[in-house]
């Protein structure tokens, strides 16, 4: 059974030969340690802030994109992972200039919008730390929404051809995941402004989600044409204790667009998996069963998301992906602790299919390589069907 078949069988809630294994991202320090060379992969700050900015400023975007794809496929092949998500790529028309040490300003020449990205080498973390929208407040957000409503589509024939070409070497080997989601700006420096506007300017926020989801639907079509096998939405909706906004706001702003996205994926015969950090108990039933999603990824145990309970409650309807704690266990635990947790997770969730093993977010830059490898080894050790203790 190859990876593609293995994932399809598991998502269909049948038992494949073994539990499929996935990572949403593997950051460069861990990947480089494993491969013995500098790897241009993941969403750590070194790659996504420093390398993206420096190479873009030098006009080397295409070279970088090809390098990322090549390293990504090499890494996932080497680790024998079953699902290959689309890597983080420098896809933007913005111009880039350094503004301070480890800070770069990105400016969109068409809209005039700008943002500043900061990077900290010690933590390998990056973040948008300032922007025109943050500075201008509501008028800035209004300008952004107006721009989103009128700007030309993102999908070009060149992009389509490029995507097809770079996915070619991976097509037979992996179950490939494209990207699609309701684009709550969880990484933007103007996220607090956006949250305030959800309460004070709801019509503006309606327009934002309408415009961004319209673009996402065209991207789904393009990625489907390029040959992806499914989609994952990587936007975070929650933090460790609950969701960022109320169930009522989810019903108004998020769920209708989530349904548009899953319907578009399904019209292409492709599943949609939703990733989110955090505790989603207050919207769990509506999100997992009412929006047409096919899988729920991350399932952070330290945020109180109990995968054994989720399996009992939703396990026959959706696929569960994740739950091996990358906050404490994979970061600070021993390989033996990791092995034990993987065994438990597989015992709880793998019987009958509908489970894909992964960390509870990603392999971030603080995870010791030996713990990640212990997780993968244990997945093979305990993940063979039929389960001995099922």
């Amino acid at each position: 059974m190859n990876s593609k078949e293995r994932v399809r069988v598991a998502v269909a809630h049948r038992e494949p030969d073994r539990v499929p294994v996935f990572e949403l991202s593997i950051n460069s320090p861990v990947a480089s340690d494993i491969m013995g060379r500098q790897m241009y992969v993941g969403f750590g700050g070194w790659l996504v802030a420093k390398v993206f900015s420096e190479w873009m400023a030098e006009g080397r975007v295409l070279e970088l994109a090809l390098k990322i794809f090549s390293d990504w496929i090499d890494l996932y092949s080497h680790l024998e992972l079953d699902i290959l998500p689309m890597p983080t790529l420098p896809l933007t028309n913005e111009t880039v200039e350094p503004v301070a040490e480890n800070q770069w300003k990105y400016t969109d020449p068409d809209s005039g919008l700008w943002r500043v990205i900061g990077y900290n080498p010690e933590s390998d973390y990056h973040s948008e730390i300032d922007s025109r929208i943050k500075q201008e407040g509501v008028p800035g957000l209004r300008h952004h929404v107006e721009w989103l409503e009128k700007r030309p589509g993102l999908v070009s024939a060149d992009l389509m051809a490029g995507l097809k070409a770079v996915l070619d070497p991976a097509r037979e080997r992996f179950f490939i995941l494209g990207e699609a989601d309701v684009l709550f700006p969880s990484e933007a420096s103007w996220q607090p402004l956006f949250l305030e506007c959800m309460a004070l300017e709801p019509e503006l926020i309606d327009r934002y989600f309408e415009a961004t989801t319209n673009e996402v639907l065209t991207l789904i079509d393009a990625e489907a044409e390029a040959g992806v096998d499914g989609f994952v939405g990587g936007v975070d909706f929650a933090y460790h204790s609950t969701t960022l906004f109320s169930p009522a706001m989810f019903r108004r702003f998020i769920f209708p667009h989530m349904r548009r996205i899953t319907e578009r994926c399904h019209s292409r015969g492709l599943p949609f998996f939703k990733h989110t950090d955090g505790n989603i108990e207050n919207i769990e039933n509506e999100l997992l069963l009412g929006c047409g999603i096919d899988g729920y990824h991350a399932i952070e145990p330290t945020a109180g998301m109990d995968i054994a309970r989720l399996k009992r409650q939703y396990g026959d309807k959706i696929t569960l992906l994740g739950n091996i704690d990358c906050g404490d266990l994979l970061t600070n635990g021993s390989p033996e602790d990791v092995t034990k947790a993987v065994g438990q997770c597989i015992r709880d969730c793998a019987p009958g299919g509908g489970y894909v093993l992964s960390s509870s977010n990603s392999i971030h830059s603080g995870i010791p390589t030996q713990n990640f490898l212990a997780m993968l080894k244990a997945a093979r050790e305990y993940g063979t069907y039929p389960m001995r203790n099922s």
């Binding site: 900290n120 460790h240 960022l244 906004f245 207050n282 404490d328 971030h364």
Partner: protein, 211 residues
């Protein structure tokens, strides 16, 4: 007659123009500035904090309530200084070195301000030395640190070690929080307190200061 309960209610629903208007009306009606602060703005923000802690309201509602609170504070601050009203405590807050994510820290700042604390915002990516300098400042009796990342948590320990070396741990209490942080970790690194959320941080700060 200005109604401070109405003022608190306007703050709770995030109605900044109403808070501005009612605060000015209360001042003009001759109500004591400390009473307007305590029974209007702080009373409202305390309810906001409780509701947030109980997941009855969420981040957007807290943000607009805080914005409304700042509108009222702007009216009251010069009068509070003139009347010699002291804050209940002064906390210097920042994210740990390497951590660039500040929404959690900002929520804690809002809750602290809404409960009568003076907040010195040190911003993001704050070095242990910068925390030490802040701890030396007159009136500062709390240091607040947050970390979103497991990779920046060690910087919290480095800061506490530096505060210890500088002999400041008798002057200030250290309160930490953030997604990967736990009570166990706080105890391990010698922090005085840990709070799992913004509203609890206020309770913990008050407890640490013996209030």
């Amino acid at each position: 007659m200005a109604d401070l309960k109405e003022l608190a209610a306007a703050l709770m629903r995030g109605d900044a123009p109403a808070v501005d208007k009612m605060t000015k009306e209360a001042v003009n009606a001759g109500i004591g500035v400390k009473q307007i602060l305590d029974d209007g703005l702080i009373a409202g923000m305390q309810v906001v904090g409780e509701r947030f802690k109980n997941n009855e309201i969420y981040v957007p509602e807290v943000l607009i309530a805080a914005r409304a609170m700042y509108t009222g504070m702007k009216v009251l601050e010069p009068l509070l200084v003139k009347a010699g009203v002291k804050p209940v405590g002064t906390i210097a807050m920042g994210t740990a070195r390497g951590d660039l994510h500040d929404i959690g820290k900002n929520l804690v700042s809002m809750m602290m301000r809404g409960n009568g604390f003076k907040v010195i915002d040190l911003g993001i990516d704050v070095s242990p030395q910068k925390f030490v300098e802040a701890a030396k400042e007159e009136g500062v009796n709390l240091i607040g640190m947050s970390a979103l990342l497991t990779t920046t948590m060690p910087s919290m320990k480095a800061t506490i070690d530096e505060l210890q070396k500088a002999g400041l741990l008798k002057k200030v209490k250290v309160l930490i929080g953030g997604a990967p942080v736990t009570q166990r970790y706080a105890a391990e690194i010698g922090a005085d307190g840990y709070a799992p959320d913004a509203a609890s941080a206020v309770d913990k700060a008050k407890a640490l200061l013996g209030m």
